[in-house]
Symmetry: C2
Subunit: 195 residues, 2 copies
């Protein structure tokens, strides 16, 4: 674990590493409220940003070098690449074999349809760790600790509106994650939804 | 055309037919500003809601009867079914063979990625016809006549935020339509977009 931490600080820098530690801390707090293997949570949390290299990076070249298949959105948005790239680096460099842990890293930025409990904890811990300051974050934090799924739905809704207001692309996985949770939380919505 | 109109009033009722006439009128006004076959626009506009039968309808059964393949979203949201069903009824009952016209009917509620000019005109005419009253509609009307794509992007953004605020599902095609237009209007967005 010490070797891992040293490698990680070298790769992502101290500031990003400090964010990572806050995500680990938040993820553990959430994990204790749910029935989940703590070791998996720690692994996914500590490595979630392992590919977030600071400075000017040629993300497209790096994705190619690691044989990562990018969707259109990732090609347009280099920032998104660190998530699938992180899953690959966690596997190759940090020898993570657990598919669940790798998936939680892969989807930690966009979310996905039908997220696992591990996906959810990593996604939302990254979103609400104490260093995050943006309008609405306190309400989302509170809701997340009261009811994980409702907290995540708030976070996804907030993200979608934020991106619309800023004329930014919205990854389809983010919408699918949101729609899935909405239906899961409101079974009756299946009958009387939409325009 | 007279026979068509009589059939249509019988099927969808007078109120919906009056909405249809306003959509036809709006679509023609838009069409005159663009390089498009007016006859196609009229056909798609007059028939866009041909499956919007009033009263209590068993939409799922009707979709099955017409061999329409529904996605998950349409199964949950019966209101969306009238669009693909309308495309089928336009083909079978009103003898429309033009795939472009049928597609414009099919996608008039959700939009889709890479919409045709005809798709766009029908989608937005339905959204801004003079009977529509909702916050923001005047701005969207104005923008649509000044710059079609920007008007449609505003309409899609407005729809997405409206549905988020009301805890309603958002069809993936609506997001794809919006993301596509955003990239089309802002080529530079391909480099510096997202979270």
């Amino acid at each position: 674990m010490d070797r891992l931490e040293n490698e990680l600080i070298k790769d992502i820098g101290e500031e990003r590493y400090n964010h990572t530690l806050r995500v680990v801390d938040t993820a553990i707090k959430l994990a204790r409220k749910h029935d989940i293997d703590l070791e998996k949570v720690k692994k996914a949390a500590i490595l979630h940003d392992c590919a977030k290299f600071p400075g000017q990076i040629n993300w497209l070249k790096m994705a190619r070098d690691f044989d990562i298949i990018l969707d259109n959105y990732m090609e347009y948005n280099q920032d998104l690449i660190h998530a699938p790239l992180g899953a690959k680096i966690a596997e190759v460099k940090y020898k993570i074999e657990d598919k669940e842990v790798l998936d939680a890293i892969y989807y930690h930025t966009t979310g996905r349809e039908n997220m696992t409990l591990l996906d959810k904890i990593i996604y939302i811990a990254d979103y609400i760790e104490p260093g995050r300051k943006f309008p609405g974050v306190d309400e989302i934090r509170k809701e997340t600790f009261a009811h994980l799924d409702r907290g995540i739905l708030l976070a996804l809704d907030n993200t979608i509106k934020f991106l619309v207001d800023r004329n930014k692309l919205i990854h389809p996985n983010t919408l699918k994650a949101r729609n899935f949770l909405l239906m899961d939380l409101n079974p009756k919505i299946k009958e009387d939804i939409f325009l």
